[in-house]
């Protein structure tokens, strides 16, 4: 009898271990780590384009390119940093549905880039009020549940602040380098 009970205990233990192994193999990268990593790449590219291309080759530097809102319409026109970021988001959207991202602000030049969903609104308000911190939440959009992360978009160059401060459609005209000007919203379907 003892042998039977002992055998059953061993069997159940092995079953439990197998189940644990199965659970481990289905675990992937957690959403926060995923969106944090994506944002790191986005931030690096965005900063580099602003500093190493627009600032260096634009009117404040060598003057060989003309960063302009209507870049397609002028000779040697180049995308503004925000447009470059958006062009990347649109190109990614054509390649994958695994995540989407956008650049938004509670002081947008284009009103279509103001936060729309409750999570976007809460996230943008939070990162503006808490410099250096990120915001994470979940939301249902179009019948799909999303993990939504909002990261601060900080003015890294006077090219950012002067353009926004001088633009006729900008609702805020006193941005300084280091200010949170808006936020990067990354969404991952759960």
């Amino acid at each position: 009898m003892k042998k039977i009970v002992f055998g059953m205990v061993i069997f159940m233990g092995l079953m439990g271990l197998t189940a644990c192994n199965n659970k481990e193999t289905t675990t992937g990268i957690e959403p926060k780590k995923y969106t944090d990593s994506l944002f790191a790449v986005m931030k690096a590219d965005r900063t580099n384009y602003t500093k190493l291309v627009v600032k260096r080759l634009g009117p404040a530097g060598a003057g060989v390119i003309k960063p302009d809102e209507h870049w397609q319409d002028i000779e040697n026109g180049a995308l503004l940093p925000a447009q470059m970021f958006r062009a990347g988001a649109e190109a990614v959207a054509e390649m994958t549905d695994d995540f989407t991202y956008s650049l938004q602000s509670i002081w947008p030049i284009n009103k279509q880039n103001a936060p729309k969903t409750p999570v976007e609104k809460a996230g943008l308000e939070f990162i503006a009020a808490n410099p250096g911190e990120n915001y994470y939440g979940e939301e249902d959009l179009g019948g799909v549940k999303y993990y939504t992360a909002v990261y601060p978009d900080v003015a890294v160059s006077d090219a950012c602040t002067s353009c926004h401060n001088d633009h006729k459609d900008s609702p805020k005209n006193d941005f300084k380098i280091g200010d949170v000007m808006g936020g990067v919203v990354i969404r991952v379907p759960l």
């Binding site: 809102e69 319409d73 649109e90 959207a93 989407t100 009103k111 959009l141 969404r187 379907p189």
Partner: protein, 443 residues
């Protein structure tokens, strides 16, 4: 009795299945399957079902691919203000739920001619409201505007705003309504053609010498001898001989023309005159359309290269005006000769004006434009007469503004009466968009 009813039912069923089966799989005429008349833009090719319905199943994605197969390039060139990629972000899910702007067929439903408005739009004209209803709060100038007036009043277009966006309005404001006489571009693309692609171009006839050809076809040779073909050394064989089949072609058609005139043929088959040929359908004739008024005498003339470029003479000046008026009989066309533009063309005919200063039908509807072909910039004639229409504001920057101010151009193209009399006079209405843009810029 019951047996006979069953027999009749079986016979009728077999007949119906056979009829529609034959029509579906063997007959080229499939009009029995049309679920409604196609729009003005597509009616010519409505019997080329597979041009849009490329697969039997697949739904809106298949149809979307069909739309972009023909229209993606022009949308890209127009800096499309509302591309699909603007609507794929989940944050727009609520908007897409109301108006799915990811797909062309949301606004342009085909086979619904009875509810199709201008620009082939099948929605009520207040579609802008769904996303832009707050504009009145942001701009006083827009406060009391009707929601169905955004894209119909000469201020905005859904896709193409190249001549209408705010900064462009400010930059190009002011100036006299008519500038100094402009020097229009003269096409030179044909001069760049490498004749070595057509070894038979030097030949006059496989059996006859030039003297014999002249004796046998005196009228044709006379017309050819003054043509640009003769000047370039393109003889009878250039058009009448087929290098591939090594045969003599009595009546060359577009396939032969495009051996050299590739881009012209491409534009022609994209426009209203030649779009059927692109679908391997018989050429269109004016008797088949009621959209415009056409002359009875030419109602059955099939449209091809030679219907405007009369064979052998290939007189481009004739093709630029006279050829149009052999078919077109609407108010706008008939008013051309007495219009200011027509008067300039008359001066050209009287040798009082240079070709580069004269305005013809083609100046606006088949303009000479700069293109980069094989790395070289040339001036070529756009043979797609629709390229700068739909909407007509597409004409403003490349055409109208060569001679006229932006303000006059916007006003003129928004005035239907002025269009009808072929711009004989000043615009009867004023579009305030430039005034508003300048006011905002000063604020």
């Amino acid at each position: 009795m019951k047996k006979y009813v069953w027999l009749v039912w079986i016979v009728l069923s077999v007949m119906l299945i056979s009829f529609y089966g034959y029509k579906m799989f063997f007959d080229t005429d499939k009009k029995e399957f049309l679920i409604g008349d196609a729009s003005h833009g597509h009616f010519q090719i409505e019997l080329a079902c597979s041009a849009c319905h490329t697969q039997a199943f697949g739904g809106e994605e298949v149809l979307q691919n069909a739309c972009t197969t023909c229209h993606a390039d022009e949308l890209k060139a127009a800096h499309d203000s509302h591309p699909k990629k603007k609507f794929t972000d989940p944050r727009n899910a609520d908007r897409v739920d109301i108006l799915d702007a990811r797909y062309c067929i949301t606004c342009h439903v085909e086979h619904k001619k009875e509810q199709t408005n201008s620009m082939g739009v099948t929605l009520p004209n207040d579609y802008c409201f769904h996303c832009h209803q707050d504009i009145g709060k942001d701009r006083d100038s827009h406060k009391d505007l009707a929601f169905d007036s955004c894209a119909s009043a000469g201020c905005h277009n859904y896709h193409d705003n190249r001549a209408l966006y705010e900064d462009f309005l400010v930059q190009n404001a002011g100036g006299s309504w008519v500038k100094e006489m402009a020097e229009l571009l003269s096409p030179n693309a044909a001069k760049k053609i490498d004749l070595s692609i057509m070894p038979g171009h030097k030949m006059y006839h496989p059996q006859l010498s030039l003297q014999q050809v002249s004796a046998q076809y005196p009228e044709e040779v006379d017309q050819w001898s003054g043509s640009s073909h003769a000047l370039a050394g393109v003889n009878c064989g250039g058009c009448h001989s087929n290098e591939v089949s090594n045969s003599w072609i009595e009546k060359p058609e577009i396939e032969q023309c495009k051996t050299c005139h590739v881009n012209e043929a491409k534009g022609f088959t994209q426009g209203k005159h030649g779009m059927r040929l692109a679908q391997k359908l018989p050429a269109i004739s004016s008797s088949e359309t009621s959209a415009l008024a056409f002359k009875q005498q030419t109602a059955h003339t099939e449209q091809g290269c030679n219907s405007c470029h009369s064979a052998h003479a290939f007189d481009t000046r004739y093709a630029a005006k006279e050829a149009c008026l052999t078919c077109h009989n609407d108010e706008h066309s008939l008013a051309f000769d007495t219009s200011p533009h027509g008067q300039l063309f008359a001066q050209l005919s009287a040798r009082q004006l240079a070709e580069e200063n004269a305005v013809s039908c083609a100046t606006c509807h088949m303009p000479s434009i700069k293109e980069t072909i094989a790395g070289e910039t040339v001036v070529a004639v756009q043979h797609n007469q629709n390229d700068n229409l739909r909407p007509n504001e597409k004409m403003i920057r490349p055409i109208c503004m060569q001679c006229h101010s932006l303000e006059f151009s916007i006003d003129a193209l928004a005035d239907e009466n002025l269009i009808k009399n072929n711009f004989s006079g000043k615009p009867g209405k004023h579009i305030p968009s430039i005034d508003w843009a300048i006011k905002r810029a000063k604020e």
